[in-house]
């Protein structure tokens, strides 16, 4: 397994505020990696350092084998960035914009194919101003992938989407991942991380507080389960045994039975709560 992103001891201060304090991170080639964390945890700062937008104070950073602090245009051609809040080029059409950006890259994809891939063929001739929020983000993705990048950064890509648009957007991300593109995703939505990511890291107070697959993050797979029934509830590490006892007690069907493992959200809130 090769490494797309390697970070050791990353540190960044803004005046008195320590935004990132000794962060370590490894992201493998071809995986979808989600970075979670509350606002002000150092998530955006970290990602912007990886993208080559910000300078770090200390630490070792390698993205596709290159230090992004010394980014060259050859390196930029291998990295796609989908920004969080861009509303530029409103008066250009989708096709004009994607075609223009394709010119920046040495091995760009066919602009019309990219437009088709993000599902905007019907809107190719429309001005960007006329698009919905979800369609606008699809243009952002098109601009991020038109250069055939090996690595794509997606910064909170589905903020403000309705549920259906979010599902469609997830399918788009999955199809990118299926082509072997490494994807680094920051998000506030835990269901999004769970649906898309191979691995997840939680950043709080400028450090990684947990890292793992969405299924095992923070001991989720082995955490105690909450068993609820009509006359009571219990937290237990052995829910099966409890259910067997209850079944005996009720002599058959247990009224109102529910067994719930902590959701990714519960684990996440615990993790960032501990860090505060």
């Amino acid at each position: 397994m090769t490494t797309a992103i390697h970070v050791r001891g990353l540190t960044k201060r803004y005046g008195e505020v320590q935004a990132v304090g000794g962060l370590d991170l490894d992201i493998h080639t071809g995986e979808v990696f989600a970075i979670l964390g509350p606002n002000g945890a150092g998530k955006s700062t970290t990602v912007e350092i990886l993208e080559g937008y910000r300078k770090r104070d200390a630490g070792e950073v390698s993205v596709l084998g290159v230090d992004p602090g010394q980014a060259t245009s050859a390196w930029r051609a291998r990295v796609g960035i989908v920004l969080q809040t861009a509303n530029d080029a409103a008066e250009l059409t989708v096709r004009e914009t994607v075609r223009h950006f394709a010119r920046y890259y040495p091995h760009s994809k066919d602009p019309d194919e990219v437009i088709a891939k993000v599902g905007l063929t019907d809107k190719a001739g429309a001005r960007i101003r006329q698009l919905s929020g979800g369609q606008r983000r699809r243009v952002d993705v098109a601009l991020g992938i038109v250069g055939r990048p090996e690595l794509v950064f997606l910064d909170e890509p589905t903020t403000g989407f309705d549920p259906e648009a979010r599902r469609q957007f997830w399918d788009l991300i999955r199809s990118l991942a299926a082509e072997g593109t490494t994807i680094v995703l920051t998000t506030h939505y835990l269901d999004e991380a769970e649906a898309l990511a191979d691995r997840v890291a939680v950043i709080a107070k400028g450090r990684i507080v947990a890292e793992g697959t969405p299924q095992t993050l923070g001991g989720r797979a082995t955490a105690s389960a909450r068993v609820t029934w009509a006359d009571g509830y219990a937290e237990t590490d052995t829910p099966t045994a409890l259910v067997r006892t209850l079944a005996d007690k009720y002599d058959g069907e247990i009224p109102g039975l529910q067994i719930v493992r902590p959701s990714l959200e519960d684990i996440y809130l615990d993790l960032i709560g501990d860090a505060q």
Partner: protein, 265 residues
């Protein structure tokens, strides 16, 4: 180098297209001097102090200068402040686009807009107010170098000034204020003979006064020289001051340009 130029030209065509699709920008920067020329030319008639020079001639020279400055300085400074605010610059900085291509695009599109602006202003002046175009080559040469130097200097100054507004919303206020003031003290609207000498001294620091002076030498001819404060158009000094602004503007751009909003780097 070739790649930078090619992408720069592609950006220039994109920028020009974008400009004409933004109706408010077209009216704000582009048709403003034309409307003023029609207005002033219609209000003020007659000759100046028996020199045979019409007021319309005087305003043609002044408003061509102001128009070029509007396209280069005002439009660029506001446009770049908006680019910085709406994510255009950030997005571009994340691509392999050669950074110089952005400036090539801005400068070339300003050049195109300025050429159209000057042609329209001249057409209005000639057909509505009987402005006579110069007949000798020397004056055409003067017109070209004054406009080119003035445009380049004003454009670089505009790029540098785009750093001042905190965001896109404040940009037109922050940028238009000095531009409008400059027009009033540089002899565009009000004859400089009516200004106190200290205001004329202030105007002499900035490029617009010199651009207008060079343009008067083209359109008012030798008879108009007597109207100048020094009794001469001082063309070598015009070239010197505009050249200095070009160099100073370039230095300012290279040292102060930011690809993100303040506090984001």
């Amino acid at each position: 180098m070739t790649a930078t130029l090619n992408i720069g030209l592609a950006r220039a065509s994109l920028e020009t297209k974008l400009f004409f699709r933004q109706r408010d920008a077209v009216i704000f920067t582009f048709s403003f001097p034309i409307i003023l020329l029609v207005l002033f030319g219609s209000i003020f008639e007659g000759d100046l102090e028996g020199t045979g020079i019409t007021v319309a001639q005087l305003y043609s020279a002044g408003l061509i200068g102001a128009g070029v400055m509007g396209v280069a300085f005002q439009n660029l400074a506001i446009g770049i402040a908006i680019d910085r605010d709406d994510g255009t610059l950030k997005r571009l900085a994340g691509t392999p686009m050669p950074r110089a291509a952005y400036f090539v695009g801005k400068l070339v599109s300003s050049l195109v807009l300025a050429a159209i602006e000057v042609a329209l202003l001249l057409a209005v002046a000639v057909f509505l107010f009987g402005l006579e175009l110069p007949t000798d080559v020397t004056r055409w040469v003067t017109l070209v170098w004054v406009l080119t130097l003035g445009l380049a200097g004003a454009a670089l100054l505009g790029i540098a000034v785009s750093n001042l507004p905190r965001n896109a919303k404040s940009a037109s206020a922050v940028v238009s204020m000095p531009y409008v003031l400059l027009q009033f003290i540089s002899g565009v609207y009000i004859p400089f003979t009516e200004l106190p000498s200290w205001l004329n001294d202030v105007a002499a620091i900035f490029p617009l006064k010199w651009m207008c002076q060079g343009l008067r030498s083209v359109f008012l001819g030798d008879a108009g020289a007597a109207l100048e404060l020094t009794g001469s158009y001082e063309l070598p000094k015009v070239a010197l001051v505009l050249g200095l602004w070009l160099v100073g503007g370039l230095v300012l751009c290279l040292t102060t340009f930011r690809w993100t909003n303040r506090g984001e780097s």
